[in-house]
């Protein structure tokens, strides 16, 4: 998943109440005026829509997963991450050849009450709902960003994709061979080739259950009027401002009970994360999320106790977090806690394989020289400086697979920062001291960037200074995000900076970025091409988890490090602060649907507001 600039900011919280339920076209008061417990989160990126099939990015996914559910979900506490059944009664039965997945679906799961159903009463969930929901993702008319998850993987789904083109309404009765409801509670998925990552895909919002009645009832408005089976219902959504959810009465009505996980690591027990083990979730009645665009504003709201948690603005970092990564004392006194965790993502500088200078060449001599140039630039990249610039919030990374995934390289990369080696490699590449021998001028490399904000500019200037040390000039072009995407899709970027955030916890998700058939406009934006990598990738793509597969992952990672199609810049840490009244809070790389486990303790919050509510700190969190 490519994060856009704002996605890295995390959540924050407040509370207020306004009670309007948007049905499809009418409004109704269905939720109690006086909420028991209320929690609210703010975040700095905008929710774009609430339709699981079409709405793509992080903040939308978070909102969607409060309302909708899928067959599987991530375990809240288990690390390494794993998926567990949610709407499925158990993990699926997988055929010997790895092609057929049979899911038993839980009985007694109901959709929320909504005027789209006969009599306004939510009906029971059926296997057919999953068939319908997945078909919606590949419907051309929906222009979903999730087509990749199913296209070419589920047998016969292409025929449905093609048939959905044109003016006529899509015919959902068209059968897809690989997607069948055998009976009301049995779903069968047949694949074209083994795809062990399917289980992770089914935990993503693209595979969440959507009732056909609601889509047909609301039409284009469906994106604003979600109807799911999840713990919360939408109360009101004011685009670009706030969104409010309330505990769905349907769970209590139909006797559905979900509980907090009962096992965790000793550290998690010590951190008090298992206090609520076995208790029914969700704990909070009301959730309010705000779209706070400006980090200074959200920080003030957090200090005043209006938000339960907040990200830390880079400008404030030094004052808030001490060099030993503990919180400043005035914040600590107020029971504010710092939450940090590494984030499964890789930030990289990619070389366009099509480029005659930094890419591949048909001429083997030139090809070797270009490789040396890429290696030289990798050696010129100094992680420590970048880390210092980012307030020590980064982890070094030595290959394409981030920690803690199987396949991560443990030995340091041979192309870590080393100026001597960089200069030597540069000579071998034919650019002694950065002078291009054929023209006599300094070697100039162009880099494309997808944002023009201060942070991007400063870190790019830092990169340029690193390259300057070996005599190479880095020229930066700052683009808007869409213009950047277009340049990459048209393969016009010589080099570019980009990140990949794991879609699921499997190294395959990162190694696919080096598969030649995934070249632009696919996710292999470096357009990297290596027959050996292609062969190995095709092999591991169908392999279930095994030590043998991990060995191949490592082998691939080593080849990629040697070829240096990317400079592996860093893996980020995510940091957030939260107030003491937010309980059961643990950082999760796949936080979708995990909100139901958080608890806001109104008693602690009341006490806090009484003792600190009026005593305002200054912006840096000092008295």
């Amino acid at each position: 998943m490519i994060p856009s600039a704002t996605h890295l900011n995390k959540a924050a919280a407040v509370f207020t109440g306004l009670l309007l339920l948007a049905g499809c076209r009418e409004k109704a008061d269905r939720f109690p005026e006086q909420p028991g417990e209320t929690v609210s989160y703010g975040q700095t990126s905008r929710i774009r829509g609430l339709d699981p099939a079409v709405s793509g990015e992080v903040s939308s996914s978070l909102a969607i997963s409060r309302i909708y559910e899928g067959l599987l979900e991530y375990d809240y506490l288990a690390r390494p991450y794993k998926v567990v059944p949610l709407l499925a009664a158990s993990m699926p039965e997988v055929s010997k050849d790895g092609l057929t997945y049979t899911f038993k679906i839980r009985e007694g799961i109901y959709f929320h009450d909504n005027p789209c159903f006969p009599g306004g009463k939510g009906r029971e969930l059926k296997a057919e709902d999953f068939v319908y929901s997945i078909k919606r993702v590949v419907d051309v008319k929906n222009a979903s960003s999730g087509g990749w998850a199913f296209n070419g993987r589920i047998a016969g789904i292409e025929a449905f994709h093609d048939a959905s083109k044109g003016e006529a309404p899509t015919d959902y009765s068209l059968e897809v061979e690989g997607l069948k409801a055998l009976d009301d509670y049995t779903l069968q998925i047949k694949l074209t080739e083994p795809y062990p990552q399917l289980l992770y895909i089914l935990a993503m919002h693209y595979a969440f259950a959507v009732p056909r009645e609601a889509v047909e009832f609301c039409g284009q408005e469906f994106v604003n009027h979600p109807v799911g089976t999840g713990p919360y219902e939408l109360v009101e959504w004011r685009r670009n401002s706030r969104i409010e959810f309330y505990r769905s009465p349907k769970w209590a009505e139909t006797g559905r009970v979900e509980v907090y996980p009962t096992s965790g690591t000793p550290e998690q027990v010590a951190a008090g994360l298992l206090k609520d083990a076995g208790q029914p979730v969700p704990f909070n009645d009301r959730i309010v999320q705000f779209v706070v665009d400006d980090s200074t504003t959200s920080w003030m709201m957090f200090l005043a106790g209006q938000l339960g948690s907040s990200s830390i603005s880079p400008d404030n970092w030094d004052a808030v977090v001490m060099p030993d990564k503990s919180l400043s004392s005035s914040l600590e006194e107020r029971d504010i806690e710092l939450i940090s965790s590494p984030y499964t993502a890789v930030y990289y500088l990619g070389f366009n394989w099509d480029d005659p200078v930094v890419g591949a060449s048909n001429d083997p001599v030139q090809d070797e020289k270009n490789r040396k140039l890429r290696q030289a630039l990798s050696c010129a990249y100094e992680f420590d400086q970048m880390n210092q610039f980012m307030n020590n919030r980064l982890y070094p990374i030595d290959g394409p697979v981030p920690s803690p995934l199987a396949g991560e390289l443990t030995e340091p990369s041979p192309y870590r920062f080393n100026l001597e080696k960089a200069k030597r490699l540069l000579v071998e590449a034919g650019y002694p001291d950065g002078i291009d021998q054929s023209t006599g001028r300094r070697l100039e490399i162009n880099i494309e960037l997808g944002s023009a904000d201060a942070n991007t500019r400063q870190s790019t200037a830092l990169l340029a200074a690193m390259f300057e040390k070996i005599g190479v000039v880095l020229k930066a072009n700052y683009n808007t995000w869409p213009a950047f995407v277009e340049k990459m899709n048209r393969r016009q970027a010589q080099t570019f900076r980009l990140a990949w955030v794991a879609d699921y916890p499997d190294a395959e998700n990162f190694l696919q970025l080096f598969y030649s058939k995934n070249e632009s406009p696919g996710p292999n934006h470096a357009n990297y091409r290596n027959a050996e990598i292609d062969r190995l990738y095709e092999k591991i793509r169908v392999m279930p988890d095994s030590p043998e597969r991990t060995a191949i992952y490592e082998k691939m990672a080593r080849i990629i490090v040697e070829d240096a199609p990317w400079i592996f810049q860093y893996q980020p840490m995510s940091f957030a602060v939260k107030h003491g009244w937010i309980e059961n809070y643990v950082a999760h790389d796949y936080p979708y649907g995990m909100g139901k486990y958080h608890r806001s303790n109104p008693e602690i919050k009341r006490q806090w507001l009484e003792s600190y509510g009026d005593r305002k700190l200054n912006m840096t969190g000092q008295d």
Binding site: T16, A143, N240, S241, F290, T296, N362, N518, P521
Partner: protein, 424 residues
């Protein structure tokens, strides 16, 4: 009067057509690749093409019988091998900027199966011999040829015992009706009253505008009227106390107000008035209370320039003969200012005021984003940043139309304010 208004309305038609054309050209020619933005990170060319077809983006821009297709995108071979790198039996020569297909090769550069019902045209500049889309090519010298074939046919290259070298290659879809273009698609859409569909929000644009206009107006209309009343009053005070301490003080005060950056007002207002003293909510759009601070900031920040502007107008009038006559008649100073001068200063005031009306609807970008008011300013900046063409186009179009209408309104107001102005 009515005749005049009708005449002006007719004169507005070419302006409106111009605006429609301009917004179309501005955003469709310069705008980004909508499909790539909507479909996200992992897409195939086939999926992009399907999206284009669905939204009419595969048509020519204005008119024409040829349209581009993603099956083979134009490429300048002198710049690099691009898509031709992967083939083992096609050799790219960088110096010449050509690709040579080896003898006995079968190469199909078309990325996906073409639509069977459509016709396509290859344009190739080549030498050597071989077949392209089933038709023979043979020439010893460089030669340009157009080859028309049906989407149902095999569209690739084959070579027998000779090599085929080419230096440019283009694929076009045959557009059966030359007027079936993106422009006509857009105009037909406007004629239906449909402003398009936002790809990033997955919503009809009309819905987005409807949701955003009220918050915007609830912010800009109070700012507009309060600002107007306060600045005209203060400018009359200036004129009344001309060259005294009060006048000097107000002039210096307005220069100071003008010199401070808008952002400073916002951040200082949020930090001191809202956060430290708790007089207002810091952020949000919950009730009228939440609008007080942004309105206050909006009024204060606009005050400086307005006071100076209106003061100049008032002082200009003060030197006119009728003012002297009025004073000579013994009319009191307040009466001269508030009745005689204000009435005569109406023309420049009207000009200034009515022209500001279209901007009320576009909202205040900074105030909206800092205070979380879900208005149109916020919507437009998001749309621009995410290249959501339909939204930007609609906002610009409506803004331009409002501008044209308020121009007419200004003229009508002139006639109402000044009996010497006759509308013909």
């Amino acid at each position: 009067m009515l005749k005049y208004i009708l005449k002006r309305m007719v004169q507005m038609i070419p302006t409106v057509v111009g605006v429609i054309l301009l917004t179309f050209i501005l955003f469709n020619v310069v705008g980004g690749d909508l499909a790539a933005i909507a479909l996200g990170k992992k897409v195939s060319l086939q999926t992009l093409q399907n999206f284009d077809e669905q939204r009419g983006l595969n048509k020519p821009l204005f008119f024409g019988t040829r349209a581009q297709t993603r099956a083979y995108e134009d490429q300048d071979l002198s710049e690099g091998a691009g898509r031709w790198r992967g083939w083992t039996n096609a050799v790219y020569a960088a110096e010449a900027g050509t690709v040579t297909l080896q003898p006995g090769a079968a190469v199909n550069p078309i990325a996906f199966d073409l639509d069977d019902d459509e016709e396509f045209v290859w344009t190739i500049r080549y030498r050597g011999a071989g077949t392209l889309a089933g038709q023979a090519l043979a020439s010893d010298d460089w030669k340009t040829e157009k080859i028309r074939f049906s989407g149902a046919d095999e569209g690739g290259f084959e070579t027998a015992d000779q090599a085929l070298e080419f230096r440019s290659l283009k694929l076009r879809r045959v557009n059966r009706n030359p007027f079936d273009s993106q422009l006509t698609f857009y105009i037909r859409q406007l004629a239906r009253g449909d402003l398009g569909f936002s790809e990033s929000m997955k919503q009809p644009v009309t819905k987005l505008l409807k949701d955003g206009v009220l918050p915007s107006l609830s912010l800009t209309i109070p700012i507009f009227f309060i600002g107007l009343v306060v600045s005209i009053t203060l400018s009359l005070v200036c004129a009344y106390f001309r060259d005294t301490f009060i006048d000097r003080f107000l002039v210096i005060f307005s220069v100071a107000l003008m010199s401070i950056n808008y952002l400073v007002y916002i951040v200082a207002g949020q930090y001191f008035l809202a956060y430290k003293f708790g007089a207002f909510p810091v952020w949000g759009y919950e009730s009228a209370k939440y609008l007080l601070l942004p309105v206050l900031i909006g009024v204060v920040s606009g005050l400086g320039s307005s006071i100076r502007f209106y003061r100049t107008i008032m002082l200009d009038e003060m030197y006119k003969d009728y003012v002297r006559t009025a004073f000579a008649k013994g009319v009191s100073k307040p009466r001269v200012l508030f009745v005689h001068v204000l009435k005569n200063a109406m023309i420049p005031i009207i000009t200034n005021v009515v022209i500001a009306i279209p901007f009320l609807y576009t909202g205040s970008l900074l105030l909206e984003s800092f205070f979380g008011i879900p208005g149109l300013g916020y919507l437009s900046i998001n749309a621009i940043l995410s290249a959501d063409i339909d939204v930007v186009r609609a906002i610009v179009l409506i803004g331009a139309l409002l501008f044209v209408v308020s121009n007419l309104l200004t003229d009508i107001c002139y006639a109402a304010a000044d009996p010497r102005v006759k509308l013909k």
